[in-house]
Amino acid sequence: MIIRVTRSGGFGGGEEKLGALDTGKLDGSAVARIKDLVGELERLAARDQAIGADLFRYDVDIEDDQGARRHLVLIHEGDPGVPLPEPLAQLLAALEGRR
């Protein structure tokens, strides 16, 4: 499974590729953890999200081992006082760790 995350929006606009993760290069427990995170992100994306303008938008593209693609969108207002949803924060941390 390959996961790519892009952030766009904010007042200034623009897009930033936050990174990609290939689970084929991870050990079994890490893969299971990433799959759990993706499941949580899917549930999160299906719920009502923040509505507004100049918010941050996280596009998560998931390509599974059979080549099927999924696309999730998560919105975060970008208020530094409000943390990112936990699954998204964990996924970004995992991406950061792979850089």
């Binding site: 994306a45 100049d54 696309h71």
Partner: protein, 507 residues
Amino acid sequence: MRTAVSYPRSPVPPVRRHDDPTGEDFGNVRQASRTAVRDPLGPAEAVEAAGIPRAMPVPPPIPVPKPFPVPLGSRFFIWKQDPSVGALGRRLVFIPSLVVNGPRDARIDTSLVGTSPVSRNADGDFLFLADTPEGDCAHTFAVVRETLTMFERVRGGVTIAWAWNVGGNTDVLTAYPRAGVTANAFYSRGQKALKFFFFTLSGAPEPLFTCRSLDIVAHESGHAILDGLKSGWLGINNPPQTGGLHESFGDLAAIFLALAQLDQADALIAMTKADLHQKNFLAALAEQFGAAVGRPAGLRNADNDLKLSQVSNEVHEISQIFTGAIYDILADIFRYERIRQSKTKDPALVLMEVGQHLCGLLLSALIRAPDTGALYVDVVNQMLKVSKEQNDPQIYRTFIYERFALREVVATEAPLALARGIVDWRDAAFASRKDDKADLVAADLQHPSVTGSQDRSGCCGTMQSPEYARDQKTLDAELKKLAEEGVTIPDAALLADEVAGLQRTFK
């Protein structure tokens, strides 16, 4: 030559009692007339002292009653653009409506922990130094209020509800001038808020406060206003162009707000010699923020030549197409009107009027556009329709069609006159299309900005608000009582009648 010592003074005339039916006290006026007599001899007394007979006695001065009640309103200092546009700086503005400590009124509140509510002075004004939290609260409130008022005015005074003002809800929009540390500003429907952040560039002596930019505050206010009018546009599955319309509206709100101020229009005319395509502060949006991220001509620039095929689907980027076309149309209509009215009006006044006209035309078109999934071509067709209905010169519609055709938004029907340089700027009926109809089609319906999805979630019902009437008499009476007796009326009570009116409006 006349001096007080050269001639004998005429006797002080007896003070006449003015029988004023209103019962007003004109003591100050009588005092003023007495004072005037004690001054060195004026021409009339000199004539009298010289023995020249008067044709008739000089009537006593007619007292001019003070206007009553005292007009509502407060003064604020605002940044004309932002602190980086030093030539323009700050100026005093008058907000002609009731503003209580906060600053707050019936529609907008301000929140800054440790600072708000900011108190108005004895004259009801909010005048603070630029580099203070109080100054930031005052500036932010004033610009949000001016933006809302501007759009309500072009709609004929109709109240524009916030997106949540349904079912009698009168909750205000709260502006947070210093919401935290990050390089951002946003509008949140859920929080009913505009949040403006600040940040410090490495090596910079002081932070950059986004709230100090007229462009940024007007931009975010524009989002809140448009969300009140078209709540489905921030909803799920809208194509990128709908998001682009939102972003463009924010930038255009800043442009129209600057054009609504005579001193800015005047400065613009002088700077550009009445050519809006010369480099100028109006087209440059969020100059200080832009400079901070390495864009010296503004974070975005409305005077751009971008076409649909040259931008990505990101809503800010794609918004530049729509904003650029509207800016070109503004420049075109201004050029036409400036020529037409060259002998009768100052160009700055013509520019203000053109700005107001185009602002109204655009707002009407946006309101009429589809409630969800609106595309640029939808708004363009509505602009053509509204323009025709209000009997604009046909050349206006030529500009609208051609500018959006040049940017690959609408399909071209024939070689474009603007591109060929054959526009007759003196011909009100100049047309480059066969029919004066609002039936343009998108240049490319398969363009990713049309077919792509933003996947945003959730939306709620929108509404349009009829005009409401405030009980001015009651408000005036309360203000009079406050002024005369020094009685402190709670701010909530001052706004109560207006809020009650809004409750009836926001059904």
